[in-house]
Amino acid sequence: MKKKNNNNLHAMYSKTHYEYVRKIKRDKTFILSMQILLFVAFIGLWELLATVNIIDPFFFSSPSRIYTTFVSLISSGSLWTHIGITLFETIIGFLIATALGTLIAILLWWNEKLRRILEPYIIILNSLPKIALGPIIILWVGSGATAIITMCVLICIVITTISMMNAFLSCDKDKVLLMQSMHANKFQIFCKLILPSAIPEFLSVLKINVGMSWVGTIMGEYLSSSAGLGYLIVYGSQVFKIDLVMTSTVLLCLLAGLMYAIICVIEKKFKR
């Protein structure tokens, strides 16, 4: 069947074009194979070094120990609780920060004077390491989920505001003039021109915020939590259960990757 398809390709295109398409496919397969090979080699080497005690599994863990910890967490039923809590905090923080950051950006685009007044404060807030606000957050909003979500929002909101505001401001001035020459009011200019033209930037912000919101949540869980993947990492490191730390980290990688993939699907739908 495959041979028949290849013959069809030969019939449809010239030999040079056929070779060109084959080269693209070959390159794609090579890159995917190398990516899988690198992953398998890393896991295999890690396991081997831990088994022959070149690295101490107590400090470095190993893939098999991570797997065992993962299975025991599932069988104890606590894994889903921890994942659920962290996922909930991350998604809520991500949504609040994206919505609120975009709303502030809209206000700053709308009112130039307000933008000029607030600009230095936004720059200072952006350069401030948000972890420094941790103790104050706990004092103000209490410990637990509220503090963690607040930390997550603080980490994402400033970059969302700055990126969206710049996207709104970089809209082609002639297009704005065109809208004005058609009698469009400011609200119409925003809804029909500024907002749609900022969608590519908005999708980039979503991608950045996926990563940032995980950072915010884990940082928040380090500061104050009694459950969640961040809590497992802190707990595991305090009682020297490195397997637990590594398992939680691997789970974080998978969840962040999954959330990023969802954003990529949304992006593809918008680009169609």
Binding site: L177, S181, M182, H183, K192, P196
Partner: protein
């Protein structure tokens, strides 16, 4: 023919942090109803400023700008503006781009305007593309769509700010013909700002030559070239002579 637009002793100053720049100095000219008029002048002399003032996007520092004896207002709806680039919105279909002005203005005769939009698309062979995106159209087709977007609002005066400058030479000649035919067929008055003297001569019944900044009207040439289209008018025996005359006026200005 009746006068449609009148510039009466118009001055305009740009304000900058350090100085006040005089862009226009006592500009006087008239454009008649259904006339195709071009404005040429040295680079940076204030040609686009004249269009912005006419459209009401800027306010004259002194003097009067009258459209059918009434002063132009801010964003005057009697005027349609076409920019250097087509500025079609990529996230909208061709139909949605063309009806953008109707969507914004919500006119009482909305149905009639939508019908006009549909008729214009059919008349200018773009109806088959109404559901496509701007990126699927050629440069010339995009300019025709941009002109239809302006025409559906039925402006009394069309302002064309170098609308062909982004096109390659061959497409440019073809689009000039198309746009000229559309404007004449819809019986519209147009002012074209251009750097291209040949384009101005081939399309216009009147050419206003501006001096360097602060721009003043240096001369007004009335043209009556043989030919139905801009391309045919380029064959007129006086074309070269007119070109030389305007060229000399402009180069003398740039030497100043």
């Amino acid at each position: 023919m009746n006068t449609l637009l009148k510039f009466d002793n118009v001055d305009f100053y740009y304000q900058t942090k350090t100085e006040e720049i005089k862009a226009l100095s006592s500009v006087n000219f008239e454009v008649s109803d259904q006339e195709f008029c071009s404005v040429v002048g040295p680079s940076g002399c204030g040609k686009t400023t004249i269009l912005s003032l006419t459209a009401g996007l800027l306010k004259a520092s002194s003097g009067k700008i009258l459209l059918k004896d009434k002063p132009v207002e801010k964003n005057d709806s009697r005027i349609g503006y076409m920019f250097q680039r087509d500025h079609l919105f990529e996230w909208r279909s061709i139909w949605k781009n063309i009806t953008l002005g109707i969507e914004i203005q919500k006119p009482q005769n909305k149905e009639a305007k939508l019908e006009l939009a549909e008729n214009l698309l059919k008349k200018y062979d773009l109806y088959a593309f109404k559901n496509q995106r701007p990126s699927q159209l050629s440069g010339g087709m995009r300019q025709r769509v941009a002109l239809i977007r302006t025409l559906v609002l039925e402006p009394q005066l069309l302002l064309l700010d170098e609308p062909f400058s982004a096109l390659d030479f061959q497409t440019r000649l073809k689009v000039c013909d198309d746009v000229y035919e559309m404007i004449k067929s819809e019986k519209k008055t147009a002012i074209l700002v251009t750097h291209d003297i040949s384009e101005a001569i081939s399309m216009s019944e009147k050419i206003i030559v501006l001096s360097s900044r602060p721009a003043a009207v240096k001369s007004v040439l009335k043209l009556n070239l043989k030919g139905k289209t801009p391309l045919e008018k380029r064959e007129d025996p006086t074309f070269g002579e007119l070109f030389d005359k305007i060229w000399k006026e402009l180069t003398n200005e740039e030497k100043k």
